[in-house]
Amino acid sequence: MRDWRSEASGTLANSKLAPAERDEVSRELAGYLEDLCSDAPARGLDDSAATQRAAAELHEDKHLGTKLYLARREGNMDLKDRVKHLWLPGLTMMLASAVTLAMFQIAGLRPYFQTVWFRGDSMTPHSVYSYLTIYVPWLCVLPFLGAAGAYWSRHVGSGRAARLTVGLFPALVFLAIFLVFVPASLAMGTLPPAEAFIPAFAGLIVSWVVIPGAALLLGVLPFLRSSGVARRTA
């Protein structure tokens, strides 16, 4: 019988499959082709016709290796799944967090400012300070929002990574905004000098990402421990 395994391996040679993975896929495809040839009498084919057909199937799609590589890494979520497992609960939690903060502000809540001094050194000779902006009542609500997001995500069958992402979504959005802001300011030349920028940026990150993220995580943690509906999502 033809060596289908090495032939399949040759077909996949240009794919991005790792060697061990390619070997396993080749072995599986070779099994299919052997079965196709063995089954030839039942299909009314002689050996030669069966071999020709098997070879034709193996070489039918020149992008087979790429398609198999992508299929194995699809990450098990198409767009509809991503909306259901990630974007819808995540954006809802983001909105809930923003609305809660806005309501507190409308009600007259003022943030608690904590001054943080950054002592000068040889690189930044002047001591500078920054503020941590802390809305305590809002931070008290965040664990419940984190829990709600993680519960929602678990309820629709998401895995732990998705539950964690959804629960931390409001803090992650702030992080993304700040990470876009820095290169954009650099590109526009509007970034202040390092000795002023670094403390201010650190203050923003701690105020809007680290502390809210920790508060959200408190609510998310119980939903990471329980398994829920097992499903890989990321």
Binding site: V25, R27, E28, L29, G31, Y32, L33, E34, D35, L36, D39, E57, L58, E60, D61, L64, K67, L68, L70, A71, R72, R73, E74, G75, N76, M77, D81, G157, V229, A230, R231, R232
Partner: protein
């Protein structure tokens, strides 16, 4: 509401349906689908395996190597709980589609 991706949906339904009865390896899946649809649906290696791997990575199928009767190792696929859960709405969607098409055809003949 009938989904847009009809071709992919029909292939997924076919694979999930034949695996509902029990685990099968790749060639058996293709052969079973061909037999059960009296040749109307045919898979080749190039159309079957990307689909199987995609469904496996979504968690609908689980595969494991096992030996067949003639001592040859084959990778057998079985439905997972998530795959079984997916099967019912897919079936309903396709039944809705066929009923809608039948109504359309009947209206055309009337």
């Amino acid at each position: 509401m009938i989904g847009a991706n009809i071709k992919r949906g029909s292939s997924e339904l076919a694979v999930l349906s034949v695996l509902e009865a029990g685990p099968l390896h790749g060639y058996e899946i293709a052969r079973r689908i061909e037999r059960n649809t009296r040749g109307a649906l045919r898979f080749t290696l190039a159309s079957l395996y990307p689909l199987l791997y995609r469904m496996e990575s979504r968690g609908w199928l689980k595969a494991a190597w096992s030996e067949t009767g003639d001592a040859r190792a084959r990778r057998c696929y079985r439905l997972t709980a998530a795959g079984r859960k997916k099967l019912a709405p897919l079936r309903k969607e396709w039944n809705d589609l066929f009923r809608a098409l039948a109504r359309l055809a009947e209206a055309h003949h009337a």
